[in-house]
Amino acid sequence: MKTSACNQFQGKVTNVKQGSVNDEIELEVAGGKKIVAIITHESADGLGLQVGAKAFALIKASSIIVATDDKGTKISARNSLNGTISQVKSGAVNSEVIIGLEGGASVAAIVTNESCKSLGLAVGMPATAIFKASSVIIGTLT
């Protein structure tokens, strides 16, 4: 399936926590990294999501927050992927920042030019891609 969501991670469901309205789905993707998604119980049921099922996670680049220097700070966003900035493409208002992860995958984030400047985002810099579990869309191929 082709979508406009920049970030797509193939993986396997490792945990499903059922709620009354929403379910929490944990997906193990390349490099042993875990991605957590919050989706409606209806969706989880409809997709047949259970432990061991193959699925993929889609995250829009505009949902990603880029963080640098995260020593000792805790954040409520359930997903944070550490890597190194491999590309910074500036636009008129926003910049696209690509963070290369261990294992070869990469995450694309859209940040404002102002943020790019104030964080001094540059190629080669360590950075973390942070996104909320509610920003993750889960899909299956069947």
Binding site: Q18, G19, A67, K74, L119, A133
Partner: protein, 62 residues
Amino acid sequence: MRTSARNTLKGIVETVIEGAVNSEITLRLESGAAVYAIVTIESARLLGLVPGKIAYALIKSS
């Protein structure tokens, strides 16, 4: 921690309502306004979010 989110609002946690999977956090800002956030229960516990705790709401401009 420095993040790309353009809006950082400092406040004090006023209420934490725990659901089955998510928790609703009310953050009271210095201005008197309230910000409401939905976070996973796991995150609320990891951050030790309880009434009276200082916390920050991060909101992307896009």
